[in-house]
């Protein structure tokens, strides 16, 4: 075997080894991301159940649960952000991403229901936004709407934004969509029980919020 052929074969071996190492590294990091998401979801699941239980236990003074609820929505938003990033990295058809999205959607629905119960019991008026989007390529304004909601949430931290993939195969979510009579005209918003479809601009979206709802001093109560 000539020196050149030998060197070429060694170089080919090194290149393949590097490729395999990179592939393993990417796979390892993606698995670590999924594992971290699972851990966060498990914790959130416990927190949600705890809040639910706390609410039941404190029937005489349910409003003591509000502090826990506020912490929960912040964790839920962080999870949503990480899940969205992972979805971008791994693709919308990734089985693990879909499973995590299903769990996340369930947590969102449960948190939304608890928030409503707390609001009713404690006479508070939290501003909630149910946002329905699609990744199936049939919603050209969903990216803009999502970014505008991120801006509103970061600017007004007390705003409770719940995002749902309209096409996600999850019984509870489909029931939730049916109960709220959300039409497949995406992006769709339910802002404090009032429906709103389409996204034209941030200003138009802001106009849909109750007066005084969007201020940095908005209280959750």
């Amino acid at each position: 075997m000539s020196l050149v052929v030998r060197n070429a074969l060694i170089a080919l071996g090194i290149t393949i080894a590097l490729m395999v190492t990179i592939a393993f590294t990417v796979n390892y990091l993606n698995n670590a991301r999924i594992a971290e998401l699972s851990t966060i979801e498990d914790q959130l699941s416990i927190d949600t159940l705890s809040l639910d239980t706390q609410f039941s236990l404190l029937e005489t003074a349910p409003c003591d649960s509000i502090a826990s609820s506020t912490t929960l929505i912040s964790s839920l938003a962080d999870l949503g952000s990480r899940l969205s990033y992972t979805e971008n990295q791994l693709g919308t058809d990734n089985a693990q991403v879909i499973r995590l999205k299903q769990q996340y959607s369930l947590l969102e629905i449960r948190d939304y229901l608890i928030t409503k119960r707390l609001a009713a019991a404690c006479k508070t008026k939290p501003v909630t936004v149910l946002y329905f989007y699609s990744n199936a390529g049939d919603c050209k304004d969903c990216d803009k709407a999502g970014y505008a909601l991120s801006y509103l949430h970061d600017t007004y931290p007390t705003l409770r934004v719940y995002s749902f993939d309209y096409n996600l195969d999850l019984g509870a979510l489909q029931t939730f969509i049916a109960i709220n009579k959300v039409k497949q005209e995406l992006p769709a918003f339910i802002i404090n029980d009032k429906q709103y479809y389409g996204f034209t601009s941030l200003a138009d979206l802001e106009n849909q919020f109750p007066k005084g709802a969007l201020s940095t001093s908005t209280s959750p109560r």
């Binding site: 020196l3 050149v4 590097l18 990417v26 991301r33 990295q89 693709g91 990216d143 200003a203």
Partner: protein, 416 residues
């Protein structure tokens, strides 16, 4: 599915080939022939040598070039310095006259006919055993010749190249070229050990006089006479060696416009020579690694660089348009300021990025190796940074221009 069909995927084969080639250079560098070449000691032998300096309007640099040649550590009775004024229209001829007093210095004045005619005029004026060429904007280390001569021990060696770097690099562009030239030192040293060189650069390449005569002297080579001669040497079955410690410093373009002009000339010259008269070398096993790997690889590198440039441009434009579009109407104070703190979770470690990082690390390794092998003085930090961030952006500019020149038959002047 859309993820799998990402445009990035089109770049993977080219990145694979680039990493393969860098690995090949490194492996070859560690092989016995390259190690033997590095172990070769400077020789005390002093055969007769003539160094030709072809000049065309080089009034600013020719004096310093001559002075560096006069400082060469070599017996003066064995060394001729032949200054050829190729019809300069500035004061080059006048500057040259300052050196006529030195023993061994010859001055030839002729009508302008191109670099190859100037070299041939110099060759015709000497009987020296070895002939060197030095562009009039380059300067040599005093011991360089003692490093070059031992490379001719093998009778099949027809030419020897030196270790070229940038003379006093200033500014981001020259520092970028400095890193690139030092990368070239490693490449040239590695490839010479398997006879894979296809260019004998103007700054301080040497030739065996008898072979030059046999091959008929220099010819017009699409403004890349040094490349044409190297290809002719290879086609004739001779070898081209490299003296990795023979340091020569050359002036390089300081503006983007002049850099693009220079590199357009080099690239179009390469394409015209290789796809023209020397097409028979491509893929031909008779010419060893040069025919099978180096020339096809160089052509592929041009094609892939252009493709990767357009791919990157498309990706960047696509992302930029999307980013601006989704931020429309959002206050600028929020839209274009990063949010949150660093979190490993968001580190974009995808296959494409890591592959690119490996390629860049390998490039940095090859640059560092070149500096160490040649003992080139000076610092490389600025060169590293500018090479990493700038080279990939500017290189496609001359590649595109050169390929379109060749495709449409456009010919440009030497200095246009």
């Amino acid at each position: 599915m859309l993820y799998a069909m990402s445009p990035e995927v089109a770049a993977y084969p080219f990145l694979f080939i680039a990493i393969f080639f860098e690995s090949f250079v490194l492996v070859t560098l560690l092989s016995r022939p390259a190690r033997a070449a590095r172990a070769r000691a400077a020789d005390a032998a002093t055969p007769s040598v003539a160094i030709i300096v072809p000049c065309w309007n080089e009034e600013k640099t020719v004096a310093a070039t001559c002075e560096s040649l006069l400082a060469l550590q070599y017996p003066k009775n064995k060394l001729e310095i032949i200054l050829v004024d190729d019809g300069s229209t500035d004061t080059t001829a006048h500057v040259m006259q300052q050196f006529v007093q030195y023993p061994g210095v010859k001055i030839i004045t002729k009508e302008n006919g191109g670099k190859h005619t100037a070299l041939n005029a110099g060759i015709a004026a000497t009987q020296a055993e070895f002939i060197g060429c030095l562009d009039a904007d380059s300067f040599v280390e005093p011991d360089a010749l003692h490093e070059i001569i031992p490379c001719f021990t093998d009778e099949k060696v027809a030419a020897v190249t030196a270790a070229m770097s940038v003379h006093q690099p200033k500014g981001i562009l020259q520092n970028m070229q400095h890193a690139e030239y030092i990368f070239g030192i490693t490449m040239r040293h590695s490839m010479s050990s398997i006879n894979g060189l296809y260019v004998t650069p103007g700054p301080f390449s040497f030739y065996r006089h008898s072979v030059i005569k046999e091959l008929g002297g220099f010819r017009y080579g699409h403004q890349t006479e040094d490349m044409e001669m190297a290809l002719r040497i290879q086609r004739a079955g001779y070898k081209i060696e490299n003296a990795v410690r023979a340091r020569v410093y050359t002036k390089t373009p300081s503006t983007l416009a002049t850099l693009i002009k220079q590199r357009t000339r080099w690239t179009s010259g390469f394409l015209r020579n290789v796809l023209g008269e020397y097409r028979g070398l491509i893929g031909n096993r008779v010419y060893g690694v040069l025919g099978v790997l180096i020339l096809p690889g160089a052509l592929l590198a041009i094609a892939s660089s252009i493709l990767l440039f357009f791919l990157a441009l498309y990706q960047f434009t696509d992302h930029a348009v999307a980013a601006v579009s989704i931020r429309a109407g959002i206050p600028l104070s929020y839209a274009f300021i990063p949010h949150g703190s660093f979190d490993w979770f968001y580190f974009p470690a995808n296959f494409f990025l890591l592959l690119g990082a490996v390629m860049l690390l390998a490039s940095l390794l090859l640059i560092t190796t070149g500096k160490r092998l040649s003992n080139t003085p000076g610092k490389l930090k600025a060169g590293f940074v500018s090479y990493l961030f700038l080279y990939g952006l500017v290189m496609p500019l001359w590649l595109l221009r050169a390929t379109s020149d060749v495709a449409f038959g456009i010919r440009r002047g030497w200095r246009y």
